[in-house]
Symmetry: C2
Subunit: 129 residues, 2 copies
Amino acid sequence: MKYSQATDYALHAMLHLVSEAPDKPVSVHLLAEKLGVSPTYLSKMLTKLVKAGLIQSVPGANGGYRLRRSQEDISFLDIIHAIEGTASVFECSLNHSSECQIQQVVMDAERQMEEYLRSRKISDLARPS
Amino acid sequence: MKYSQATDYALHAMLHLVSEAPDKPVSVHLLAEKLGVSPTYLSKMLTKLVKAGLIQSVPGANGGYRLRRSQEDISFLDIIHAIEGTASVFECSLNHSSECQIQQVVMDAERQMEEYLRSRKISDLARPS
DNA sequence: GTTATTATAGACCCATTAAGTCTCTAATTA
DNA sequence: TAATTAGAGACTTAATGGGTCTATAATAAC
């Protein structure tokens, strides 16, 4: 069980946006260069972050992406959910009679992790300048 | 990010072994029937559980699988690790200068989940008879 | 208004993994 | 010795991750 690399890139991209760009939009081209990944590929993740309402896109010359919400509101979980989706990590494939107790336990565990990821904000790591 | 179905089957198989078989080994055939999965496929997971030291195999007629350790010692995490491996759910693919702080956060989150899974024992769910 | 610059969308490709089957071998007991 | 069991591994198929490419739309600069 692994998070996709896309999540990795998205987290790093968001960290850049939080750290460096208060107002001015940053182009995909520039972001991609910093992360060492292709612009077209990074676009996909940024589009997801837009749809999740975490960032804004500004088309046209001198456009790019900038934060939408206030920095303090953006948690690791927000970003991860934007890329990975919100489906549970475990779904019992057996058809028991009752609720699956095993699934309950694993989902409780997942909730522990999500709780922590919700508490940690991407701005916590912003460049201490 | 999802756990494989193999993990699902392994957890259910272990629950059966804990619930029903104190001494007598249970054959793959029987276990597979109860779970509604093919015996040869289930074999693969059981073999992993053997290698992880959670269960014992008994070849030959009237053979099968039985628990190895005492029930109370077998946690959800033990079973999940036996099937999924112990690699972290997140590994930063960028080559920064320093340690990746993003990775630190996600791995801390993972530790939260693992801690919980370690605390929950499969015997907790054993048939209340 | 035209042009350059940017994001958006989606088709497409390749490699890897999950999920599962099949067959052969080895060990043990009846 | 024969029946029953696990163990190992080759093999197949479908899904997913990771990534490229191209065409379109929107905007700003000139």
